[in-house]
């Protein structure tokens, strides 16, 4: 790949007071209002914001890919002097893929499932009339190699379903770069990827940008990522750009209160050593040699596929303590949660809850025990029945366990106060509430049965960072008050480090590391744990001193991922 002969520091893109209106009846008038920023050659601009901030819309507006019902109302988008909003569709088609490349968030659905990967890359060459003849195939293989994919000649003929998420994202990057565009727009490209894969892709983007000298507009919600790769940052809140500047300034000396709030909410390891109570009491939950295997196929004509979702896992939880189970997708962490609550059957092992082995009980025998183990789910939009009122959702549990309705109702109102929701929520439906509020309802539901063990299955993963901080605080308060044991399942080591007393790291179904956050972070013994920790974005920035993000962002810990 040649280095782009481009004027370094050339002003590639200037967005000037761009506004996009929302259709009538929406909760605000504009998706984005009066947004202005610049992008120069050779720099990475990160646009940060929570959901609904309008960051994606800005990116789509540049490419002219907004849906029909969103139209740019005013402002200019100047690409090398030309106003993109004034161009015809034909002129835009000539630009897309050639001068401006874009990659998206969901690699699993971003590629045509019935077309070979190589053909999809060749398509962008064909559409712009580049590399005719046999040179095209050559170029495709060159690109696949450039983005770090193994065995490019074979992979070019594969269909997307054979590739992993990280591999598909690399293919997307290859497609976006095929014609060496001046600008790359990346819309949350690593949000849907595992932490280790994310580190690799970030390293790749960094490397490419350095060698090709292009301008990169990187959209994300994660300040850790910003700390690792950005040169300049722009922060957006509810459609308005509230702060922008060099990354050092924005991250370490944020001016706008929203930015300050966001940065304060980034999960980091709390330095206060948790007061560990005397371990005299018997553990609340003791899991021994738990195993769960999934077998698929095995019919008369198909091969059996065996997946060890959980492989010989053993751990324990005390009352009043939080155990974190951390792992990437496919590690088995969610499966353990489901096994504990008997949402799936287990294959072998013991689960001793307060002395009783709940693994061997039948469904009917287990039902009376259910009130002691409750779960808080991940997706605030799917974990509440949209047709039931909040009151019904919370009282259903006690009523199903024999509590008279009047009593359950009183308890429900109490709980609404406990989770800091207004009592009037009792008669309202879930769609009237935000994600964070719905999670609070989910917590109230779980507490209605007065459990002794709570399993929080990625309960804050779907929430914005600021809301996440509030919910974590709520959970902490509840644990202190009610002395419940908690199992916190998450993929985010930072969150686990912040709230857990002990951490268990899982990889491909096995537990590879156990210990306090301090032990796991400072003295990880397992190679996978070390990789996981190294891949956490923004560590350099966060770990210099607690609560005071560090200064240097030049020496990126991603060095080992840059190939």
């Amino acid at each position: 790949m040649q280095v782009k002969h481009q004027n370094p520091d050339e002003l590639l893109l200037r967005v000037e007071r761009l506004s996009v209106a929302l259709p009538a009846g929406s909760d605000r008038g504009h998706a984005i209002k009066d947004v202005s920023f610049d992008l120069r050659a050779g720099e990475i601009l990160c646009i940060v914001g929570e959901s609904g901030s309008g960051k994606s819309i800005s990116a789509n507006a540049i490419m002219g890919l907004l849906p029909d019902y969103l139209r740019p109302e005013s402002g200019r988008i100047l690409f090398k002097g030309r106003d993109l909003l004034r161009l015809t569709e034909e002129e835009l088609l000539a630009l897309r893929g050639k001068d401006i490349g874009m990659i998206f968030q969901e690699p699993m659905s971003a590629l045509n499932p019935v077309m070979q990967v190589g053909q999809q890359i060749a398509e962008v060459l064909a559409v712009h009339g580049a590399y005719p003849g046999p040179a095209r195939r050559q170029r495709v293989i060159e690109l696949l190699e450039f983005v770090g994919l193994p065995d490019p000649a074979t992979l070019a003929q594969a269909f997307p379903f054979r590739l992993s998420g990280g591999q598909r994202q690399r293919v997307m990057i290859a497609m976006a770069l095929a014609l060496e565009p001046s600008i790359l727009i990346a819309d949350e490209p690593t949000t849907a990827l595992d932490v280790t894969t994310q580190a690799q892709i970030l390293g790749l983007i960094n490397r490419i940008q350095a060698s090709m000298g292009m301008g990169v507009m990187f959209i994300t919600h994660d300040f850790g990522v910003v700390a690792d790769i950005a040169d300049r940052v722009a922060v957006m809140e509810k459609g308005v750009l509230v702060e922008q500047g060099p990354v050092d300034e924005v991250l370490n000396r944020p001016q706008h209160p929203y930015t300050q709030r966001l940065i304060a909410a980034v999960p980091h390891r709390s330095r206060e050593a948790a007061a560990v109570p005397a371990q005299a009491a018997a553990p609340l939950l003791e899991v021994k040699n738990l195993s769960k295997t999934y077998r698929t196929g095995g019919g008369l004509f198909t091969k059996k596929r065996v997946v060890h979702a959980v492989d010989d896992a053993s751990f324990s939880v005390q009352r009043g303590q939080t155990l974190g189970i951390v792992g990437e997708s496919g590690s088995g962490k969610s499966t353990i949660g489901r096994c504990l609550l008997r949402l799936t059957d287990i294959d072998s092992g013991q689960m001793l809850f307060d002395g009783t082995d709940i693994a061997t009980l039948s469904a009917a025998q287990f039902r009376p025990h259910r009130r002691h183990l409750q779960m808080i789910f991940q997706d605030p939009f799917a974990s509440l029945n949209p047709r039931h009122t909040v009151g019904r959702i919370i009282t259903d549990g006690p009523v199903a366990n024999g509590v008279p309705y009047a009593q359950a109702q009183r308890k429900a109102r109490e709980l609404l106060r406990l989770v800091e929701l207004d009592e009037s929520a009792f008669d309202r439906y879930p769609n009237a509430f935000s994600g964070g509020q719905r999670q609070r309802v989910g917590i109230a539901r779980a507490l209605a049965l007065e459990p002794t063990l709570l399993v929080a299955d990625e309960s804050v993963s779907a929430l914005d960072v600021s809301v996440q901080a509030q919910v974590l605080k709520l959970l902490h308060d509840i644990q202190q008050r009610l002395n419940v044991g908690m199992i916190f399942i998450t993929h985010d080591l930072r969150v686990a480090a912040q709230v857990c007393d002990r951490i268990v790291v899982m990889h491909k179904g096995r537990i590879v590391e156990q210990g306090t956050p301090a032990e796991v972070f400072e003295r990880p013994s397992n190679a996978y744990t070390q990789r996981l920790i190294a891949a956490i974005p923004g560590q350099r920035w966060l770990s210099v001193s607690p609560g005071q993000p560090g200064n240097s962002t030049q020496d990126s810990p991603l060095a080992e991922y840059q190939q």
Partner: protein, 278 residues
């Protein structure tokens, strides 16, 4: 609920369909008030429409009032359409919910059973059933119900399969609700919208099937049906083409109206515009 009604009313086609359908219902309910029995052969045979005020739509070759036939035919069509669909939907929900909720062996067995009924050509089976059990309103309703339930079962099953994985159903299990309570209070209410849309469209198909059966001579001999009228008019294609046209238009309007209502229901239940964050 109010929003749903508002969305439905905004759809002009659906409103038109609803108006026509209500007209058909009124006609069916009050036909004995306007007309005597459609079988009475009082009039002059083959009277063209709009000539005699006593017979506004004319008479057929045996002197029967065509307008009366259309009115009484509405009664049969609606009766057969609604009752057979109701039976098919109830049975389909039963099979589909059990298959979707319990999965495994139960699902396998029930699905093989359903696939069998779905693969057999529907009209042919209905014909055979009605023929063998002697044509009557009961055998017709039964036969149509028997050939119509498989798509409902498949739909209910797929809804149950996907809803069962949703977290609020998992939550219901976790808080200790019994399976039957979960099926009825948690899953079924959320599965109803597509079931309702399918059921409404099935009424239309049932009316068409009933018409086809009557046309082939398998209708209830005591009940005048639109299909029967078309069948009877077949011999007079050259002499009196309108005799075949009018009952067909009646069927067309009724079926069209129901389809428009069904599409209106579908659109009202799934608003196309998706706002951010939802």
């Amino acid at each position: 609920m109010k929003k749903f009604i508002r969305r439905f009313m905004a759809n002009r086609g659906a409103v038109a369909g609803l108006a026509i359908f209500i007209l058909v219902i009124v006609l069916a309910l009050t036909c004995s008030f306007w007309f005597e029995s459609p079988w009475t052969m009082l009039g002059q045979p083959l009277l063209p429409p709009l000539q005699d005020p006593d017979f506004p739509l004319g008479t057929d070759m045996l002197g029967r009032d065509i307008a009366a036939g259309l009115a009484y035919g509405a009664r049969v069509s609606l009766l057969v359409g609604v009752v057979s669909t109701l039976a098919a939907v109830v049975f389909g929900i039963l099979v589909g919910s059990l298959a979707g909720f319990y999965g495994g062996r139960v699902d396998d067995v029930l699905m093989r059973f359903t696939e069998f009924f779905q693969t057999i050509p529907q009209l042919a089976m209905a014909v055979v059933l009605v023929a063998i059990f002697n044509p009557s309103i009961y055998s017709i309703v039964g036969a149509i119900a028997i050939v119509s339930w498989p798509p409902v079962a498949r739909l209910v099953r797929s809804e149950f399969l996907s809803l069962k994985q949703r977290e609020f159903v998992q939550a219901a299990i976790v808080i200790g609700q019994t399976p039957s309570r979960i099926i009825v209070t948690q899953i079924l209410p959320n599965a109803m919208p597509p079931i309702i849309v399918t059921a409404s469209l099935m009424i239309a198909t049932a009316i068409l099937t009933e018409a086809s059966l009557s046309f082939l001579g398998l209708g209830d001999r005591n009940m005048m049906s639109w299909g029967f009228m078309i069948g009877a008019a077949r011999t007079m294609l050259r002499e009196a083409p309108l005799m075949s046209v009018m009952p067909g238009v009646a069927i067309l309007l009724a079926v069209l109206a129901i389809n428009l209502i069904g599409e209106g229901l579908n659109d009202a239940m799934n608003p196309q515009l998706r706002k951010r964050g939802e």
